[in-house]
Symmetry: C2
Subunit: 189 residues, 2 copies
């Protein structure tokens, strides 16, 4: 499927744009391809774009002072990713984003997003609901983190994204669950 079509169907789930409006909407994006392992945002960068995933799998992650990695999100097709704090506030990135597999994305600048939201009421509507959903998902994950043990969280993740098991090295799954790779490995006993 074409990038344009993928985005169109995604947006249509939330907002109603006319043909011309969607034309304008789509034209604000840039198509980009990345290879497995490539970095899209590195900690310390100025961030002025967010990314809509067309194909492949990205990860957004934080690395602490002990060089331990924590994964915020595996970004699969039709997911949005960036360092949203840096993007919204102008602060330097503390979250990095890179490619777990080869990937195609549509990138949208902060400026273009705000222009769209201003020009097209339904675009603002779309971005409001996109974030509403992200917010609810993030709160659910926080609760699961506090409430459930590793095994439970692992099964939850695999139930939701079975495809991850194939694509993503286990140590990254551990970094998402907030657990050591050794403990994850021992889970199957």
């Amino acid at each position: 499927m074409q990038p344009k079509q993928i985005l169109k169907e995604h947006v249509a789930k939330i907002a109603t744009l006319t043909e011309e409006e969607f034309e304008n909407f789509f034209n604000r994006f840039e198509l980009r391809s990345f290879k497995k392992g490539q970095t899209i945002i590195a900690a310390g960068d100025r961030v002025d774009r967010e990314y809509f995933v067309l194909s492949g799998c990205l990860k957004s992650f934080y690395i602490n002072d002990d060089l331990k990695m924590f994964i915020l999100q595996f970004a699969m097709p039709t997911w949005w990713t960036s360092d949203f704090n840096a993007l919204y506030t102008g602060a330097k990135a503390t979250i990095s984003v890179d490619c777990i597999t080869d990937a195609e994305v549509l990138s949208l600048s902060n400026e273009n997003r705000e222009a769209l939201c201003k020009e097209i009421h339904q675009a603002e509507h779309f971005f409001r609901w996109r974030t509403n959903k992200g917010y609810v998902a993030s709160q659910k994950r926080l609760l699961s983190m506090m409430n459930n043990d590793v095994k439970h969280r692992y099964e939850e993740l695999m139930a939701q994204y079975p495809e991850l098991y194939q694509i993503v090295p286990k140590q990254l799954i551990a970094a998402y669950l907030g657990v050591s790779r050794e403990t994850l490995s021992r889970l199957h006993h």
Copy 2:
């Protein structure tokens, strides 16, 4: 300060409404007062309102099968709270909200929020940015949960909301940090 004025100043930080627009905006809210200990949303309820805190302190929380409580948010003045998942999806509440102190809130129905967003482009803008901020804060908390030990998280919370120490029983602070009250009590050694 008057409820109207509090809301006006809060909204003005994000969106620009004309006098008439704000008049319409404000009139969609209902002023309500609650006593300490009163329940605003109980798990299992249908949720059709969100709440803007004018005074006092609310908590939103989840209770698991073992009757252990986890606090998602202490809602202080100018904070918004609800079970947003239930509110947005129509599902029954899994999150409850009640009053830690006597409190005054402005309550807004789902219906009225959507009507406002439709009628007033800047209202949609406002709610988009409100959630953007919530989303970023939630992700930060998730990372802190994965990365930092209890002591660190406790100091972080106290640095951000020193007033909580006076107002909120320690066991509730423990329930926010995701730690037992005993461990929190031993932190000061």
